[in-house]
Amino acid sequence: MKPASLALSLAILASGLFCVSQSLAEQTGGTSLAMRRLTELQYENIIRDAFGTDITIGGRFDPGMRQEGLLEVGAGRASISASGLAQYVSMARSVAAQVLDTDHRAEFVACTPKAKNGPDDACAKRFIADTGRLLYRRPVPDAELKELVSGAGATALALHDFYAGLETTLATMLQSPEFLFRWEVREASGKNKGQLDAYSKASRLSFFLWDTSPDLELLEAARKGVLDTQSGIARQVDRMLASPRLEEGLRAFFYDMLILDTLPSLAKDAKLYPKFSFKVAADAEEQMLRTIVDVVLTQNGDYRDIFTTRKTFLNRRLGAIYNVPIAGTAEGGTPDGWQPYEFPLGDPRAGILAEPAFVALHSHPGRTSPTLRGRALREAVLCQKVPDPPGNVDFKLVQDTTNARYKTVRQRLSAHATEAMCTGCHKLVDPIGLAMENFDTIGAFRIEENGAAIDASGVLDGTKFTDAAGLARAVHDHPSVPACLVNRVYAYGVGRSPSKVEASWLKDDEQKAFADSGFRIVPLLRQIVTSNMFFLDPPPLDAAPQKAGAVSTKAASLNSPPRS
């Protein structure tokens, strides 16, 4: 894209953001509250849902912005860079070209134009309205629909091609702020005053539970006012929780919570760790998500068991790092064939904290980092904030892995942490990070470092242990673990940190309900999305938390959709 063209696009986008805000508010009679930039996965999911899996996207997305521990919170403050916009433009053109090519157009254009070599406003309007509803997650406003139809006609006339007109218009819609951002609008009046409007509710539900835009049934429920009642919401929620798409939603949440978005850029010293590659990084992400989904969804188990489970999934690449045989690979012996794998009782490989997606992710390229690992555990799993190190810290001692006096990182950190400015934070993170020292920087097991035996003992907030499995049990039983999850789930759903009122409600009601359900996630999701808090944005100070209709915590647990 030429600079002038890009600048123009940015200007259009900026004015578009303002106009959309105004337009939505005017159309709905509500107040535009917030907008969240689509994540890469959400973009891909929407295109897949709207146009099928054979439409390729390509392109690169602006990196996400993590705030309060979540990309979904940062998405509410993320903008689009000039290069990011150029990518959106390119992707929009590519997707539109594929959708309207001769192989696909019949699938997506339900009507037959009067003539292929010119405009047909009626047919164009039908395509734009149908497609726009899926892409914008609400009906295309009349004024915009009129403009888009007019634009499609003008292009068709100029190019003597009806489908070229649709292609150009679809590309325009895919670059629209209404598509690229999730807009949420509050009802300004009526019985649901203060709540999100119906289409905003539908989007919030859908992105929360499925990580994609609402399907036609949910949009139709919004149109008919079904989502204006708690019982109507509950019916849709039950349908969505029973859908196989719930797995995608859960994967997206844990991908966000566990900072897995940084895995693709993870690099290791190839000379020291030749087994690691970008493919292994991708495998590690998939492994961790499979492990979690197996516990919390497939087995409908206790969320905390993700930290202690002996069950995981391996392929041949990861098998080489784990140093275990991988039988029954996919046809042709491709390394991508995933196999369930259960470690024996007492194995140090316990739970997700022992998986490369944690221990390798939170390590340096050529050496481990108990500090990074401990900090990641505190921040991502316990929702605790660990301060950044001061700018003038001397890390030489910690980084010198050849120091004959300090052979293990425990010894090096011990010497380093005697410096007054370092002691406080290291006390917070090192005793838990050192318990993972039996896993090297790519996640392979080891018992020595530089010939010295590794001491993996440690303590987590008063609970002592001798190895990673002990740490896993301590994490499992730590009261902050379920509390953190509840808060993260809620923040992920609403796109911001809980307010004081919400935090109090989450603590008093939701955390208790979560515990009562046996720390099962599906009942927790149901409990949250069927509460009246979930769609109050932001909730007024005097909001009285109410449970969803007549559904009690216990009932939510008992009535949760069965998982196979």
Partner: protein, 393 residues
């Protein structure tokens, strides 16, 4: 660094506990190699190098006359014999590597032979030209085995074992040709290396499995198997074979070579047997070794190294190079008819009953292997973490 790499199998889940105990014990064996184990163990390996064992003599005693001429020198000689003028020879030498002139240049030297009074293709009919008598290795060192039990003139001394009477005529025939000999003590010959690097990514993996190990130092009864895998090899980020990767044994018994052997002072040796190894057409579609034996050693880092010695038909070792004709000769500096005659002349076994020409040649192949998991479809795998086996770094 001590690495424990094991194929752990059990008939039932009840065996798991005992296997874990064995594994824990085996860990120390892996680290020390020479220590004893309390129960039979199995070790699996992925072959990372398999080609003619070429000894690099730092004192130059192998080829005292020097190495064989390169292709430019070969072609100057051959063109002169063909009666070309010095001007024609000089022009040819300037252009024989030019693909654009290949249609003109290639036939001149390809058809430098004579059969029934007509020009003949020397690559498909090497005997249509005379024997150029390329240099061959004169020793005294060469890897391998004393296959015939005799210490004859011209036999080598194995530089590793000190064994005399070593029969390795394949090395003798090819060891003074520059692309087929190592260029330093720490590397393998360049042409086989490039062949191997290409082939290993497309051919099924080659596996070694050593089972029935009761004592890594001395054991009268172990089984060494060489298998073809169902999967291709996996490489690590440095391009080397991926240690610790898993492979399923190809069920076709044709590629099952199960040999009886023993361990003496930590060296595993097998009884003579035929060994069939499928590789890749780029190397040789199938090696058919006869009266072959293995001498292998498990290194402290868990890797395996050793030699395969035996006999093999000599003609395929010409064919793998000669089949590509002029292009191969021009670019790899192998005097094709010269190699043909050397192999034929030095062949030392299996005489043709009618002509008396020996049809097989003694040889030694180098085997390098990294730890891997060898999986048999008919045997369940115990899912065991080698965390217990004590991988250290």
């Amino acid at each position: 660094m001590g690495l424990g790499w094991y194929n752990m199998r059990a008939r039932s889940a009840n065996d798991r506990a005992s296997l874990l105990c064995r594994a824990a014990l085996a860990c120390s064996c892996a680290a020390l190699v020479s220590a004893s184990a309390s129960a039979s163990e199995t070790r699996g390996f992925l072959i990372s190098w398999f080609y003619i064992a070429q000894y690099y003599d730092t004192q130059g005693r192998d080829c005292p006359q020097g190495v064989n001429p390169n292709s430019e020198e070969i072609y100057r000689r051959e063109l002169k014999i063909l009666g070309k003028s010095q001007k024609e020879i000089d022009e040819y030498i300037l252009t024989f590597l030019d693909n654009g002139k290949n249609a003109v240049n290639a036939p001149i030297l390809t058809m430098r032979g004579t059969r029934d009074g007509k020009p003949a293709n020397v690559y498909t009919d090497p005997e249509s030209t005379r024997d150029p008598h390329i240099y061959t290795v004169v020793g005294p060192y060469g890897y391998g085995f004393n296959l015939d039990g005799k210490d004859k003139p011209g036999d080598f001394i194995d530089p590793d074992t000190g064994e005399h009477g070593v029969d390795n005529q394949l090395y003798k025939a090819s060891g003074c040709t520059r692309e087929l000999r190592p260029h330093s003590p720490t590397e393998y010959a360049p042409l086989p290396t490039s062949y191997w690097n290409v082939s290993r990514e497309v051919m099924p993996a080659l596996l070694v499995e050593i089972s029935g190990i009761d004592d890594y130092k001395n054991d009268d009864n172990v089984t060494v198997a060489i298998y073809r895998a169902q999967e291709r090899t996996m490489l690590d980020n440095s391009g080397a074979m991926l240690a610790g990767s898993s492979y399923h044994v190809d069920p076709n018994p044709r590629w099952h070579n199960v040999l009886h052997g023993r361990i003496r002072d930590g060296v595993i040796e097998t009884d003579p047997s035929d060994i069939n190894i499928a590789t890749d057409p780029f190397l040789l579609p199938e090696y058919k070794f006869t009266r072959a034996r293995l001498r292998l050693k498990i290194n402290p880092d868990g890797t395996l190294q050793g030699k395969l010695g035996g006999y093999h038909a000599w003609f395929p070792f010409y064919f793998i190079y000669g089949v590509a004709g002029f292009g191969q000769e021009a670019t790899t500096n192998i005097d094709m008819p010269g190699l043909y005659y050397a192999l034929k002349r030095l062949a030392d076994a299996d005489p043709d009953p009618k002509t008396g020409q020996n049809m097989s040649i003694s040889l030694a192949f180098q085997i390098d292997a990294v730890p891997a998991f060898v999986i048999h479809d008919n045997q369940p795998i115990v899912q065991v973490s080698t965390a217990q086996l004590g991988v250290t770094k």
